[in-house]
């Protein structure tokens, strides 16, 4: 092209101009390449960051999904388990009296030295004589409770021998997995040399194996027995809150979106409401926590640390998301549908509820799932309404004390036994991310289905 131009013009001035253009052209193309390269670099960097984050969490968390478990044959020796027979309900006792007798029996059970049973079992396996202190260092503090509740559920076990799986203590697990430096001198090790040797010996004999840590999902949090701490309580707390969010935020959010989009007159007040809702969507979550602490707890005296309050706070937080998404969905419905309905004599309410709303149902569902996923991962407001309390039970109702999955992550990352809990925290994050991934996958699936139909 430039050759033709040269021949046609030929004059000195235009040749000069062309020279300048040609000289600048390579510079411009170089700038173009650099700019495009920067764009690619930005994308690669962003993707690399996603990758690093996930790789870090998974590589740290996966080992703690498997935990050292001790397989022992426990004999419920009558000489150690010295308690009377369990009281029976209905034998002339009022419910209150039976409760009292049963509590007495359980108190007697609590006084039994269960660790002695474990010590005996370990002696039978390894031939090493160990005392109570060694047992506490070797197995998780929860092991005695496991034996006790097994016996409490079935008092006929007295005198029998049953195989049982007990968790190795957190320090023992650290030693076996090597998460603590095995070459550290004795005085800096958490466990005595004898216990360490015994652990290695039991591991070599396959009395200790690395089993999948089911208790991570079935147990509640525990301070005294870190190895058996689990997520069940936090999971139920989160579940209650999510149910409250769904039950409250979806109807209220959809209803107010319908009003604002379809019925409200266009004036300065609705304009203000729109700005207000958009602002609410961007208000820091911790401010909602302050609102919950001041209004729900301090003014209405709702119970502290309860999923009910957490659910209400998260509902208020999720509401703007749902309203904005529903309004967008309503706006996208084609006018012909509305006009057809109105033309056939439907009232405005009939048009909205019977024709427009059903079309937007998939988008509303997607928005709900995204809102719930967001609420599920929220931590800061829950700290302010006391949901960071240590709760060692599964909440039976939304009014009981509870914690939530992200708050459990926060609590575990602050635990003193860093060697053990760093992995444990990562495992909790894996569970949390897994839940969010499932929710998001459902949302994406629904969105593509919707697009295919539309």
């Amino acid at each position: 092209m430039t050759d033709i131009n040269m021949q046609q013009t030929g004059s000195e001035a235009s040749r000069k101009r062309l020279e300048i253009i040609r000289a600048s052209l390579s510079r411009r193309h170089r700038a173009e390449a650099i700019f495009k390269g920067l764009g690619i670099a930005a994308i690669v960097l962003a993707l690399a960051l996603v990758g690093t984050l996930f790789w870090q969490v998974f590589s740290k968390g996966t080992p703690s999904l498997f935990q050292s478990t001790l397989h022992l044959d426990i004999t419920f020796d009558p000489e150690v388990v010295e308690v009377g027979p369990a009281p029976e309900a209905g034998s002339g006792l009022s419910p209150a009296e039976y409760e009292e007798a049963y509590l007495d029996w359980r108190r007697a059970l609590a006084l039994v030295n269960w660790n002695e049973l474990i010590a005996n079992a370990i002696r039978d396996v390894s031939g090493t004589e160990i005392d109570g202190g060694d047992v506490r260092a070797l197995v998780d503090n929860n092991a005695g409770l496991v034996l006790r509740s097994r016996f409490q559920d079935n008092p006929d076990l007295l005198g029998q021998t049953v195989p049982m799986d007990l968790l190795v203590s957190a320090n023992g697990d650290n030693w076996l997995k090597g998460t603590i430096d095995r070459d550290l001198p004795d005085e800096r090790q958490q466990l005595s040399a004898d216990t360490r040797n015994l652990l290695d010996e039991l591991r070599a004999d396959d009395v200790i194996t690395m089993d999948f840590a089911w208790h991570l999902f079935t147990n509640v949090d525990s301070r005294t027995a870190p190895a058996s701490a689990g997520l069940a309580g936090a999971f139920m707390g989160s579940l209650y809150m999510m149910l409250i969010v769904i039950v409250l935020a979806v109807p209220i959010g959809v209803a107010s979106a319908i009003y604002l989009e379809e019925f409200a007159p266009q004036n300065r007040i609705t304009d203000l409401i729109e700005v207000n809702i958009n602002n609410l969507a961007a208000v820091p979550s911790i401010v909602f926590g302050l609102l919950g602490a001041a209004v729900f707890i301090n003014y209405f005296h709702l119970p502290i640390s309860a999923p009910l309050v957490g659910g209400l706070v998260l509902t208020l937080m999720t509401l703007p998301t749902i309203i904005i998404a529903t309004r967008a969905a309503l706006k996208a419905v084609s006018p012909s549908l509305r006009q057809a309905a109105l033309g056939l004599g439907a009232s405005k309410t009939q048009m909205v509820f019977q024709h427009v709303l059903p079309v937007t149902f998939p988008s509303i569902l997607t928005a709900t799932i995204i809102g719930v996923a967001q609420a599920l991962g929220e931590t800061a407001p829950l700290l302010l309404i006391g949901m960071n309390a240590f709760v060692a039970s599964v909440p039976a109702s939304p009014l009981d004390q509870a914690t939530a999955l992200p708050v459990q992550v926060y609590l575990w990352q602050g635990n003193e036994n860093r060697n053990f809990f760093e992995a444990r925290t990562s495992a909790a994050i894996i569970v949390l991310l897994g839940l969010m991934l499932v929710l998001n996958a459902i949302a994406i699936f629904l969105r593509t289905r919707l697009e295919r139909r539309g």
Binding site: A31, E32, F35, K36, G39, I40, A42, A46, L49, V50, T52, L53, Q56, V57, S94, P95, A96, E97, E100, I252, G253, S256, Y259, F263, A264, N276, N279, L280, A282, V283, P284, S285, I286, V287, F288, L290, L291, A294, V295, N298, I304, L319, I323, S347, K348, T349, Q374, L376, G377, T379, L384, G386, N388, A389, V409, Y410, T425, L433, M436, I444
Partner: protein, 459 residues
């Protein structure tokens, strides 16, 4: 059990009312030989609404006042001389025992004769009061049903009335969002004003020392509550975050919206958006165990003293968190720039990067600035990353590699687990919250107005 009965009665009544309204409207239509104004379903719904209102009113009143009435009944059943001899705590205990006897659960030890009597009486009282409430609710409901039934004529505008009720419900739901804002402002203002009765606003807003002593006894002083160090920490962390997020986020938005093949775009965009869905506590943990040690390792290598928890760590990770936020907002805005501008520039011989830098970006600038403002608002309100990774050291420092503290961290520290809003130590959280809310409000509203004007410009 009781609530099941109540629910059952309510459901039966509502179903009955709907059915009555439905069939009555059809009957009157046939009798009057006239077309109904509304379809029978609307007459049924209207009748059900008529029944629901009085029944819900009675049940609501009982839920509100019932426990108080029962309590005073129990108290009246305890003989006067016994009641006088008991202390408040013992009285409560006695009342609990009477409740246990009445419920058939029994009590420990031999119940006193008055307890037994009161228990029996309470049992009867509970039964009778429950029956009365149910009867009153059902009776009123039936009366309302008769009234509603008599109102039904072919000309009754049942549909309009039902729609008016629906409309009222919709308005009530829209009010929730407004009430939330009002609730935030009022509760923050109220508690902040209480805080300012302890500490003067001047000391709070212009003080440069943050040192809230937790023991207020003896020393007389209540500690120093200077906002400046916290504000500085917040601004520094947010600035570092924007420094990381803006180039990466904006460049990836430009690449995705202007260069990328649609297929690449449709795979990469969701992956980057995954970053936006990750809970902030996960970023905090990532900062604490990975980024912090990594930065301090670099610092060791080059001979700098970089702390593992510092403004730089928190800011860097917060920047990562904000990347998808900036990239998806900018992406939307870049795609809203009219195609004619872009085609015109390309047609005049500009390269693609020149078109982007000289035509598209200036045209999209207001919208992009709005997106940045929203991102800044997000950064200063972010909590968990800074709680875990900023080091919690509320001292005025210029060095970003030293620990710092922010407004949000301090709110968490001052209020966590504390419900006794009596002293300035916990009330200060609300003053900080008010500051935070005001800052984000200004940023959000400015951003929203800019973005809205930008949209209108090209629509």
């Amino acid at each position: 059990m009781n609530s099941l009965v109540v629910a059952a009665v309510l459901l039966v009544l509502l179903g009955l009312a709907y059915q009555v309204g439905w069939s009555r409207s059809r009957t009157v239509a046939v009798g009057a030989d006239r077309r109904l104004h509304s379809r029978p379903a609307y007459h049924g719904t209207l009748a059900a609404i008529w029944v629901l209102v009085p029944v819900a009113l009675v049940l609501g009143l009982w839920a509100l006042f019932g426990p108080g009435v029962t309590d005073s009944y129990i108290r009246s059943q305890i003989p006067a001389d016994v009641a006088a001899s008991l202390e408040p705590a013992q009285l409560n205990n006695a009342m609990a025992r009477i409740r246990s006897i009445a419920s058939g659960y029994g009590v420990l030890g031999e119940p006193q004769p008055f307890e037994n009597q009161a228990g029996q009486a309470l049992r009867q009282f509970q039964l009778i009061s429950f029956l009365i409430v149910i009867a009153a609710a059902a009776g009123l409901g039936v009366l309302a049903l008769f009234a509603a039934r008599r109102r039904i004529t072919p000309a009754l505008r049942a549909r309009n009335q039902v729609e008016a009720v629906v409309n009222a419900l919709l308005v009530a739901c829209s009010a929730v969002a407004i009430l939330t804002t009002i609730g935030i402002v009022v509760s923050l203002l109220f508690e902040a004003i209480r805080f300012f009765t302890f500490i003067s606003p001047v000391d709070f807003f212009f003080g440069t020392v943050w040192n809230p002593r937790f023991s207020t006894t003896g020393t007389g002083g209540e500690g120093d509550y200077g906002l400046i160090p916290l504000l500085w920490g917040t601004v520094m962390v947010a600035f570092i975050a924007m420094f990381v997020a803006v180039p990466v986020g904006l460049m990836s938005a430009i690449y995705l919206s202007q260069y990328a093949h649609p297929r690449l775009r449709s795979t990469v965009k969701p992956i980057i958006e995954v970053l936006a869905g990750i809970p902030t506590i996960v970023y905090g943990f990532f900062a604490l165990v990975t980024v912090g040690p990594f930065l301090s390792g670099i610092g060791n290598a080059v001979g700098l003293d970089i702390r593992a928890t510092s403004a730089a760590t928190a800011g860097l990770v917060m920047g990562i968190m904000i990347i998808p936020f900036i990239s998806s907002l900018s992406d939307d805005i870049l795609r809203q720039v009219p195609k004619s501008l872009r085609d015109g520039s390309l047609g005049l011989g500009a390269t693609r990067s020149e078109t982007i830098r000289k035509v598209i970006l200036p045209a999209a600038l207001p919208g992009i600035v709005g997106a940045f403002l929203l991102a800044i608002s997000r950064a200063i309100g972010e909590t968990m990353i800074v709680v875990l990774a900023a080091g919690n050291s509320p001292i005025l420092r210029l060095n970003p590699f030293e620990p710092t503290s922010t407004v949000t961290v301090t709110i968490v520290n001052q209020l966590t687990g504390d419900t006794d809003f009596a002293g300035p130590q916990s009330l200060v959280a609300f003053a900080l919250g008010l500051t935070l809310f005001a800052m984000t409000l200004v940023l959000n509203v400015a951003a929203l107005l800019i973005v809205r004007r930008f949209r209108e410009q090209y629509e």
